[in-house]
């Protein structure tokens, strides 16, 4: 019975080891495929998306009037048309000499870093060439990468302008924060609507209040209209001026309804996002813009959230002081190759083998059983790391090595306690010995456990990788040794 129990456990360990180190292969379309999940690797081990940004050196033609003010026009004007209107055309560099400073390169780096962080990039590296201003951004290659890349060199110029006069009413300097919210729609339609919430600073709040008082859509009933086809030239309502007023006149025989509309246009990077007016004054300094229509479809909702988060991240991080061009965007593998990892694994294997020999020499059969159990723990540990989606980094590999060392110390402690009790002819105290070893070992491990748990919650892949790897390692040391190693040793000691 005693032998059967031990053999069953050893067979189980062999099985786990086979699965962990060699995999489970099934036929998939004429080829054999390993069904055991692969390791998720971080940027240092898996490679990264390298995005190179270069300072834009191009110029843009700007048309100016006789007073030197910029004229906005969509149509291409010939030289004759320009001179007829008294306009001049100037070629203005997109990045003037005075913006190309080390401070602005550094500011750009900070803004890009903010954008990556707010969009959930778990790790990234940004290096700046202080002479040319060229930037190299490295981000992990995953399903989120393209979305991150698309925002890296977006200027993020936010403007609320008067739809008619194009006067800039608000800009990036008025923004306090931008985030994404979502909520249920009104009773008329079911589903969820995604909102981009723009919160303005003190000055911005005042400006928004003024704008929302001014740019309103108002209906006015004009009674006592006697003549057909009455035309109202000027309509004066509160907070509107004649210049900026669009007047739609509807005339009936009995009365006239006039709808006056003053609208603002919201622009991001010169692209019109929306043109609207306000129903009521906004006094709390918060502007909520709905992104996409209300939906119950999860994919559409996800798209809306992703789009809104993307814009929110760009606006929240601020406006890039320099215009950059993306000159390359490619995935480059790590210089740490599989060969390096294999060498490391072989080195760890050799050290472990020496460790096992020492255990067997010192503790005989108990040492051998513990060594077999140890191999099972490592196999199970590597499976757990793969199935818990832990991203393995260099720090994570250190975590694995530390876990193996800790388990060796623990096993050695248990075996030493058992040997001590056997030498003292106290065979009945193996259980107590193991219990005592557990207590003593894990009391010493509490500070490490605290640190590991803290690291698990950090949103930086390399450190969380270490935390997660160590967390599962320590949990396995406690559970596996209780269920397998201790049981094997107890069964062996049974008479």
């Amino acid at each position: 019975m005693k032998k059967i129990k031990i053999i069953t456990m050893i067979v189980l360990i062999i099985l786990i080891t086979m699965v962990s180190f060699f995999g489970v292969y099934t036929q998939v379309q004429n080829r054999m495929e390993n069904q055991v999940r692969d390791y998720a690797l971080d940027m240092d081990l898996d490679g990264a998306r390298y995005v190179r940004l270069s300072v834009n050196k191009e110029s843009t033609d700007v048309i100016k009037d006789a007073d030197g003010n910029e004229v906005e026009t969509d149509e291409e004007m010939t030289d004759e048309q320009l001179s007829e209107n008294g306009y001049t055309k100037e070629s203005v560099p997109n990045n003037s000499e005075d913006v190309l400073t080390v401070e602005n390169y550094d500011k750009t780096k900070k803004i890009i870093s903010e954008r990556l962080k707010s969009q959930g990039a778990g790790e990234y590296e940004i290096s700046v060439d202080n002479e040319t201003g060229d930037i190299l951004v490295q981000i992990p290659e995953n399903e989120n990468t393209d979305s991150l890349v698309s925002n890296i060199n977006t200027i993020g110029n936010f403007e609320i302008i008067d739809a008619d006069t194009k006067e800039v009413l608000m800009d990036n300097n008025d923004i306090k924060l931008v985030n994404v919210m979502y909520g249920s729609s009104s009773s008329t339609s079911s589903g969820t609507t995604v909102y981009m919430n723009i919160e303005f600073n003190k000055e911005g709040t005042k400006k928004l209040e003024n704008i929302s008082n001014t740019y309103v859509e108002s209906d006015e009933d004009t009674s006592n209209t006697t003549a057909d086809n009455t035309t109202t030239d000027n309509t004066t309502t509160d907070n509107t001026t004649a210049d900026n007023t669009t007047t739609d006149n509807t005339t009936s025989e009995e009365n006239t309804t006039e709808t006056t509309k003053k609208e603002i246009t919201l622009k991001i990077d010169d692209e019109e996002i929306m043109t609207t007016s306000f129903d009521e004054p906004i006094e709390n300094g918060k502007l909520q813009l709905s992104m996409g229509s209300s939906t119950t479809d999860v994919d559409t909702l996800q798209d809306n959230i992703s789009q809104a988060s993307s814009i929110a991240s760009v606006l929240d991080s601020g406006k890039l002081p320099i215009q950059y061009d993306m000159i390359s965007n490619e995935y480059i593998l790590s210089d740490i190759t599989n060969t390096h990892i294999e060498y490391l694994a072989i080195a760890i294997g050799i050290v472990l083998l020496i460790g096992f020999v020492i255990l067997i020499i010192r503790y005989k059969v108990n040492g051998l059983l513990s060594a077999i159990a140890f191999i099972g723990l490592i196999s199970l540990y590597l499976l757990v790391i793969r199935y818990t989606n832990v991203s393995v980094s260099i720090q994570g590999i250190i975590g694995i090595i530390v876990t193996i060392i800790l388990n060796y110390i623990f096993i050695n402690k248990i075996l030493a306690t058992i040997k001590k009790s056997e030498d003292n002819k106290k065979l009945g105290t193996i259980k107590e010995g193991i219990k005592e070893s557990y207590k003593e070992f894990f009391m010493k491990l509490i500070p490490i456990c605290i640190s590991v748990i803290v690291f698990c919650f950090i949103n930086w892949t390399t450190i969380s990788s270490f935390g997660m790897v160590m967390f599962w390692g320590i949990a396995l040391i406690a559970l596996y040794n209780y269920l397998i190693t201790a049981t094997m040793l107890k069964v062996k000691a049974e008479k």
Partner: protein, 225 residues
Amino acid sequence: MKEFIKSKQLKIILIALVIIAGIVMIVVKGFNFDLKYQDTQRVELYLKTEFNISDIRQITNEVFENQKVMIQKVEVFEDSVSITTTSISDEQKNNLVTKINEKYGTELTAEDTTVENIGHTRGRDIIKPYIVPFAIAVIIVLIYLGIRYYKLSIAKVIAKSIGIMALAQILLFSVIAITRIPIGRLTIPMVILVYLLTLFGITTKFEKDLSKKKLEENKDKSKKK
């Protein structure tokens, strides 16, 4: 003499010497940063075929001689190579292109091969993401140690713990500076390893001291009885 070798004083003197030497080295020469974090130059070559890094390494050893070189495969087809090194002269670029053409039968030209400048990564940017996690972890650990070993005097326990943790890290960076081990991807793992070892060491020491203290207290109690 034997007593001196075993003494605490010798250990203190040795540690102080290592730290002083480390500080001198940092002031005079600074840290030796890994190629990945230095100002570098990079070329990318399209080889049209899969290749072995060891073959490219052979070529770069001939072209760049003693310069540190980082070789990486590019994109999923792995048929382009990225070569990064401290600096690439026109002569080296010509040599590299010629040797690659000879080896892989490509028709690359030095004129079409662009050398990109890559700025360095600042040391503070490397450690920045780790400051908050470590600060939080250390504070919670100190609170725990203070509570768990209050019998050994909270102030002493906390002061000793901070002192040993700081000393261990200073010692580590002194050794890194003296031995010129490059500051790179292995630096943070080393810091973490030393931090864990320190924690384990501190706890083992305090556990021992606490057991001693408890034994003494028990002896005192039994004497009183």
